[in-house]
Symmetry: C2
Subunit: 158 residues, 2 copies
């Protein structure tokens, strides 16, 4: 049991106590499926981040930014930690995982980073609603810095 303690600590940091699966545990998805879903989730975030970037750097479109920010915020607040359940430290979804083992290690800051992503994307929805381009740019910068911080520490180069 001692050997898996760091994994458990990491799981807790991600907010994935076994109970958080709820009824899904009855037919728990396989690790490859979870990895596929998390790779998909970050792709959808990337798609929407690109839309915001294009809008704030080009012709600003309030509705476009609002839709994109709402989608990122929903995913960031959806409980992504469940997709990093024990058993998914290695393996292949659409491609080999680029998640570093440090995610599940003792002292992992990944839960904190995930919280920052949720916080800053939720704030971006509020700011996008005002339609104030300068404020949207500033908040979008805050959001992308939460992505970078986590990737720098916990995402292997592809």
């Amino acid at each position: 049991m001692i050997a898996i303690r760091p994994l458990v600590a990491g799981a807790l940091a991600l907010g994935i106590a076994a109970a958080s699966f709820g009824a899904a545990a009855q037919q728990a998805p396989k690790p490859e499926q979870l990895i596929k879903w998390r790779q998909s989730a970050y792709q959808v975030i990337a798609w929407n981040s690109g839309r915001i970037k294009a809008s704030v750097e080009g012709t600003y479109n309030k509705e476009e930014v609002l839709k994109a920010a709402t989608t990122i915020s929903a995913i960031a607040n959806s409980g992504l930690g469940a997709l990093f359940a024990p058993g998914t430290e290695t393996g292949k979804g659409w491609h080999d995982t680029t998640a570093k083992p440090e995610i599940w290690a003792a002292g992992s800051k990944v839960g904190e980073y995930a919280g920052n992503l949720a916080k800053e994307s939720t704030e971006l929805v509020k700011v996008a609603n005002t339609g104030d381009l300068a404020a949207v740019k500033e908040q979008y910068g805050k959001l992308t810095r939460t992505c970078k911080a986590c990737h720098d520490d916990y995402k292997a180069k592809e």
Copy 2:
């Protein structure tokens, strides 16, 4: 020009006039990227649909259902049509597209189906907020029938 008319009609049905890309058109993503994103978006919807199914068929968890429904609704309302832009009728994202050519054909009902997905998922968020399990089950059924209707007509068997 006549030859591409059905594609244009389909594009309009999906709400993807060229202008809907807005500034993104300056550096338009490649078709393969768009296909990858749309495959990812439907995977994230599938992940969240599975969470709702597990919760309504097992131990009901209001917060879990609310997070999942919010994510589906955000994606459904995000403008998925842009990921079916002309040029993406065939090709490979994570895998060969399973989108049928009829999506882009004259008389395509795909825009209507996409609207139904957005409508029923948005309604599910409202119902999930009440925490009424019977109502959630009923509305979740309405949501999944919009998925099936579109898959039956426009998604090739994998």
